[in-house]
């Protein structure tokens, strides 16, 4: 019989639908896994309240885990929770490196005091590593990203919003 840790490792097979280089555990979307004699309970939290990927993520988790849970005679329940609120600080350093290799500038930390006076953080271009970049728009291709441009290599890129 699988333990909660075993189920968590299986959840690492579920990619984020919008950022497939990261799985839902690395993203910090999976908050807890609990397994008892009758059911496996997975708690997930959204990055943004209106993130349209949440339904797809729940479906993907069902597709992978439900048959395995059934083998053990258990049901799978997925619960959406809002507390504690998701923060970019939950992305590990390894996850941030993967993001940058994928072409998305990773978020800094929310502890960056400059955010308090509304100042924008220094964002490094994921393509040429230049810090000579400009924000084009606070909002980008998905709810969790802002749109930037590199002044050295002229490439546009996404920056993971820091919240």
């Amino acid at each position: 019989m699988r333990t909660a840790d075993d189920w968590l490792r299986l959840l690492e097979m579920v990619p984020d639908p919008e950022i497939p280089v990261l799985n839902v555990v690395e993203m910090g979307i999976v908050r807890s896994v609990h397994a008892d004699a009758s059911q496996v309970e997975v708690k997930i939290t959204p990055t943004y309240m209106g993130c349209p990927a949440m339904d797809a993520i729940a479906d993907d988790i069902h597709t992978i885990l439900t048959p395995l849970a059934k083998e053990e005679g258990k049901s799978l329940s997925i619960e959406l929770v809002y507390a504690p609120a998701w923060t970019t600080d939950w992305l590990t350093e390894a996850a941030k490196e993967k993001l940058e290799r994928y072409g998305i500038a990773p978020p800094g930390t929310t502890a960056d005091k400059r955010a308090l006076n509304g100042a924008l953080p220094d964002v490094r271009c994921p393509h040429c590593r230049s810090s000579n970049t400009d924000m084009v728009s606070l909002f980008g291709s998905t709810a969790c990203k802002a749109h930037y441009r590199c002044n050295d290599c002229s490439e546009p890129f996404d920056h993971f919003k820091c919240i």
Binding site: P46, M49, G50, C51, Y82, A83, S137, F139, S141, I163
Partner: protein, 249 residues
């Protein structure tokens, strides 16, 4: 009537109606980036609405989920503030409406984060991060338009004069909000006015815009007394689920 249900409808309907309005900008933004920004903010609002209304339905206990509440209530059952049902107008009108609402939402979500109701507090803490981000955007546009050309300045100054009277609902206390404060799970709308006004005054001063003279305020949204505009908006928003109630897509 459960006061917490009514209170949650107010929170949910503000977010829902504003989100629907912003969605109408899809494909009509003045530039591509702004098209994306307005619809992203709209998406956040719909997400917040979903959380508030789903909690409202749970508290009501009458088997109404968030979709049921959004699509199968009539105009006089909606509890949104009159401000959010004002038409989109031109881009400046939408930005002023958004700015006036965002400055309120930041104060509201901060206050609600201390709610004794854990579920309510959780949604508020999550929403607070999003509303602060929205305010950063709408505030920047207020300064850009107010301090821009003579035309952009005059247009947003007029928008301000026209929209300001509709902010009344946001700060109007009544029996429901008194119960919310008394039982420790909600905030007093009137108490949000000073921090809201501070943000508004400071932004307008930077934007070179004049704070409109205080005048009579319109209220009524919180008790279901709405302007004509809401009925057109609901007709468009509700037609599909009402025509095909069990449709899945």
């Amino acid at each position: 009537m459960d006061a917490r249900f009514e209170y949650l409808l107010r929170l949910g309907d503000d977010a829902l109606i504003l989100g629907q309005q912003l969605g109408l900008w899809t494909g009509h933004g003045p530039v591509l980036e702004e098209d994306i920004a307005l619809t992203n903010i709209g998406l956040d609002q719909i997400g917040q609405a979903r959380a508030w209304l789903s909690l409202a339905g749970k508290i009501e206990g009458a088997d109404r989920d968030e979709d049921r509440l959004a699509y199968f209530r009539t105009q006089d059952e909606f509890r949104n503030a009159l401000l959010v049902e004002r038409p989109n107008g031109h881009f400046g009108d939408t930005i002023v409406r958004q700015f006036l609402f965002d400055a309120y939402a930041v104060a509201l979500h901060k206050g609600l984060s201390d709610s004794k109701d854990d579920e309510l507090a959780a949604i508020a803490r999550k929403s607070a991060k999003e509303s602060a981000y929205h305010l950063r955007h709408s505030r920047a546009w207020m300064v850009r338009l107010g301090d821009g050309t003579e035309e952009s300045h005059d247009k947003v100054q007029t928008s301000l004069i026209q929209l300001m009277p509709y902010t009344g609902d946001l700060f109007h206390s009544d029996g429901i909000s008194e119960q919310a404060v008394g039982e420790g799970w909600g905030v007093d709308p009137a108490s949000l006015r000073s921090s809201w006004k501070e943000v508004v005054a400071e932004t307008l001063s930077e934007a070179g815009l004049d704070l409109p003279e205080p005048g009579p305020e319109q209220t009524g949204g919180r008790i279901g007394r709405h302007t004509e505009q809401l009925s057109y908006l609901l007709a468009e928003m509700q037609v599909l689920p009402r025509t095909y109630p069990d449709a899945k897509w």
